[in-house]
């Protein structure tokens, strides 16, 4: 089981090859890509900022949870950091297991947990020149009027 935070493109072919296993009747992989729009706005590019030490620790923990919970043979995942362009692979998850059902379930569990738990932040640059930290639109403390 390997989880990596990468500042270079994810090599999905070699990640897939690393999951080869004679006992695996199923390999499920997921690629999350940079999309050209989000919540009605046109995205130009984006940047991921990562608390690397903690993300690596939490990422491995998530893969271990999925292996125990679904009884799969092996899992690998990677997440990008730094600037990305439209179409780039931002996150990759692969699961090898004896049968397909637990491979699909484990893959879904891992991608959902990675999105919710990894200390990773995304700043989107929009085509109109503005930019924003995603999910932090309502982070500002309310200003109380006297």
């Amino acid at each position: 089981m390997v989880f990596e935070v990468l500042d270079k493109p994810i090599d999905e072919k070699s990640m897939r090859t690393a999951l080869n296993n004679p006992s695996a009747g199923a390999v499920v992989t997921f690629e999350g890509c940079v999309r050209d729009h989000n919540e009605g706005r046109q995205v130009q590019s984006l940047e991921y900022e990562v608390y690397v030490e903690m993300a690596e620790k939490e990422g491995v923990r998530i893969l271990e949870e999925a292996r125990e919970r679904f009884g799969v043979l092996d899992l690998r995942a990677a997440h990008r950091m730094g600037p990305l362009e439209i179409g780039d692979i931002a996150v990759w998850v692969g699961v090898a297991s004896a049968h397909r059902a637990e491979a699909f379930d484990a893959c879904r569990y891992v991608i959902d947990a990675l999105k919710h738990r990894l200390p990773i932040w995304k700043k989107e640059q929009y085509t109109d020149g503005s930019s924003e930290w995603v999910n932090c639109q309502r982070c500002q403390a309310e200003v109380h009027s006297p």
Binding site: G32, Y48, E49, Y51, E53, M54, A55, K57, H79, A90, V91, I111, L114, K115, H116, R117, L118, P119, I120, W121, K122, K123, W133, V134, N135, C136, R138, C139, Q140, A141, E142
Partner: protein, 79 residues
């Protein structure tokens, strides 16, 4: 006691630095955050944040120890 505080994303931009050593009497992350709000004029709401001490998520009332590495975690957006 002395703590290391690291900042990411919106907090890093508001503080204007990615890390600092802080001498504090704060006993918990919640108390520490109030000091940082005063020191840096932060406008981010504590209720929007989680906190990690030495790379593990902990409650805001967790007891801090000398030498701890503290990171307030704004809403994440991986994937």
């Amino acid at each position: 006691m002395k703590l290391t505080v690291r900042y990411f994303a919106m907090l890093r931009e508001q503080v204007g630095a990615s890390q600092e050593e802080v001498e504090t009497t704060a006993k918990t992350p919640a108390e520490l955050f109030e000091e940082l709000v005063q020191a840096h004029g932060l406008t981010i709401d504590l209720k929007a944040l989680k906190v990690a001490v030495n790379e593990d998520f902990v409650p805001m009332e967790h007891a801090l120890s000398d030498g701890d590495a503290v990171v307030f975690i704004p809403p994440v957006a991986g994937g």
